[in-house]
Symmetry: C2
Subunit: 151 residues, 2 copies
Amino acid sequence: MLYLEDLVVGSVTELGSVVVDRGELVAFADRFDPQLMHTDEAAAAGLPFGRIIASGWHTGSMWMRLYVERVLGDIANLGGLGIDELRFPAPVRAGDILTGAVEILEARPSPRKPDRGTMVVLGTMHNQNAELVMSLRSATRVARRPEPAGD
Amino acid sequence: MLYLEDLVVGSVTELGSVVVDRGELVAFADRFDPQLMHTDEAAAAGLPFGRIIASGWHTGSMWMRLYVERVLGDIANLGGLGIDELRFPAPVRAGDILTGAVEILEARPSPRKPDRGTMVVLGTMHNQNAELVMSLRSATRVARRPEPAGD
């Protein structure tokens, strides 16, 4: 288990890849973001992107899975604080291979509570053509390493 | 269809409600955010929130569904630009009844492209106890009303 003190600001971790499944893309959008640009291939042909594209919430959720598996699951996570600067500079399509990464931007102790602090990361997803398709900043409350019991 | 010119800055729209389904909460987290605080009731009993809570990505996605159904589906949406200040001030639990709202904060023409502009909204979700459980700012590219064809 990694505590706040163990986090190295500036370190970058590759998160591996996920293939965007067409069925999941459509099912996610049908449930959570039912716009024709996400759900209807025929309608999407007449829209700016030409083919259906993933909901941004789906792309973000796919990044989260990679982040939890490779990084966050090993950290003494006390809960998510929020996300900023979530951007989608290029569309995500069915069959795309998305590769995630995360850089630790900050790891600072709480000024008031000695047992915790805040980690801020920059998360990214690139597609198989090395295009950036998503970026975000995520802040998480992280425990500090417990003091050994004294006597 | 509503164009940029039709949007009223300061207007607030109630988006209706959604009940947080336990099965969906766990299934979403199993796929996209597999942390014990979201997936394992027994483990969650020993964690800060005491019971499983929804992934923030799930809560955001539930808000998106309400927003698309009640507001965004009627707007000449050219694509999402991004999300900022996504916050989760209180936990979301299975069985909660979440009620969404959206306020239009900005509706400004593009300085360069005469056919479009940017809409910025403040989105919120409150639970059945009137606690704010999520807030965000979302920016969307919106078409301006086409000029009637001249002669």
